[in-house]
Symmetry: C2
DNA sequence: CGCATTCACTTGTATAGACAATCGAGATCC
DNA sequence: GGATCTCGATTGTCTATACAAGTGAATGCG
């Protein structure tokens, strides 16, 4: 194929990355003008259709907005929720101007419970990695994250230090997310959850059960319990009751 | 512009509509093969780039899936939750093989509460339509739907009989959905909700607050409270805590 | 039979050019 | 000054073509 380099990266993808990097570093602030299709043609020595494709895809992802006869511009960062992005709780908390910290309660290998075995495609009692973390927003406990991880997909999971990097961050790096299941429930916290989130047993909680997949198969199965807070759902979603 | 007709419809859009119509009428069932780019070129007398664009956009919308070297195929209808589908609770219940019924508790015009006024872009105490409905799955109450509707967008709302047609069905018909906000919370039911959903005050509930828009502006603002059930979230979503 | 090779078909990336539609700014006219 | 016109810049649609890359089926060989 006609490629700008030997790394296998298509040219339009290289242009997208360039534009995204300019936005991320703050060089191109919100609502600032992005080079026109013609300018990108010159800059990257590509045809207009290729430059156009980069701008087009970024527009579909909500990174840019374009107006015929005027130009292309950087969109508001908040609408940049790409396709299968699952946000990192640390990023969320920092985006609100707060301080995120995490307390590692448990990090171990244990025999796989039946329910988890089914979800991750493992055999019952086969070893599975497990982490239990409390996420704090400033000094307030916000979320209890119980996560089972498939050792075949992520063999070095137990060696990580999750006080400095969330499991989500680490897993995103080693096993890029391709798919996810979600179930959301309203539950009352058990004694253990009450203790870690400093709740009373009558405060309702949202529990999000999330199973993530990467190219090779099921990666992790997580229970994210949050103190009765409100969550905004965005993106293209459908919501259906389960049996 | 080079156009296949004088209606102002671009050629690629005409091809998309053709493909969608074949799928909707059942002519092209799930997983069946869609004409190749080359075949569409001949059929519509367009260049390959134009035929390709139609297939491409339908793929991005989840209507088709394509594999290099193999072909393009009709995707599963369930993943056709494409852009902004919000399911109808009656359809959901019937999809589970159960019987849906609805009890109309209240249907009236009332002065707009402040919170609703902001959400719908109305003035405080200006009249707003309000409906309160209990949805049953077989004989079990499943969801309490409290909905405020913008009279400017849907002037005939109060004339409908919501025992036979859900508000969602009616609104979809008269004001096609273009956008929606969602907030999900875990709450304990108030006395009124307990009564209608036959709950005890200690059973946690999921409350989905949904604001819908059509082309002309905000259409409705609904509070959907469900007895502690589990909800499956699908589609491309992001979930973020609110302030 | 089992295996590798070849080949046709399909999708993916890219080019160079054309005309259409829209907008904004500057020039022109009254 | 204010309204109108023109024109350049920019994005939107489309063509015709080329080569790359993946798949699957047919073919040929040992």
């Amino acid at each position: 194929m006609q490629r700008s380099n030997d790394s296998g990266t298509p040219k339009f993808a290289a242009i997208k990355e360039f534009i995204l990097s300019q936005i991320e570093t703050g060089n191109w602030p919100e609502h600032s003008r992005v080079p026109s299709e013609h300018a990108l043609c010159d800059q990257f020595a590509v045809s207009r259709m290729t430059a156009r494709r980069a701008l087009q895809e970024l527009t579909e992802q909500g990174v840019l907005y374009r107006t015929q006869g005027v130009g292309s511009f950087v969109a508001s960062p908040k609408s940049q929720s790409a396709l299968l992005e699952i946000r990192n709780i640390a990023d969320e908390i920092q985006a609100r101007g707060h301080f995120h910290s995490a307390q590692l309660v448990q990090l171990t290998s244990l025999p796989c419970p039946a329910l988890v075995a089914g979800a991750l495609g493992l055999n019952r009692n086969e070893p599975v990695f497990f982490s239990l973390i409390v996420h704090y927003d400033n000094q307030t406990p916000l979320q209890l994250e119980a996560r089972y991880v498939n050792p075949k997909m992520v063999p070095l999971y137990l060696q990580q230090d999750f006080r400095y990097q969330t499991p989500h961050e680490y897993l995103s790096a080693v096993a890029p997310l391709t798919e996810a299941d979600h179930i959301i429930e309203a539950v009352l916290p058990d004694e253990f959850t009450c203790k870690h989130l400093k709740l009373t047993p009558h405060e309702p909680c949202l529990r999000l059960t999330r199973r993530t997949f990467s190219r090779g198969g099921a990666v992790s199965f997580a229970f994210l319990t949050s103190a009765g807070s409100r969550y905004r759902l965005g993106g293209h979603l459908n919501i259906s009751p389960t049996e």
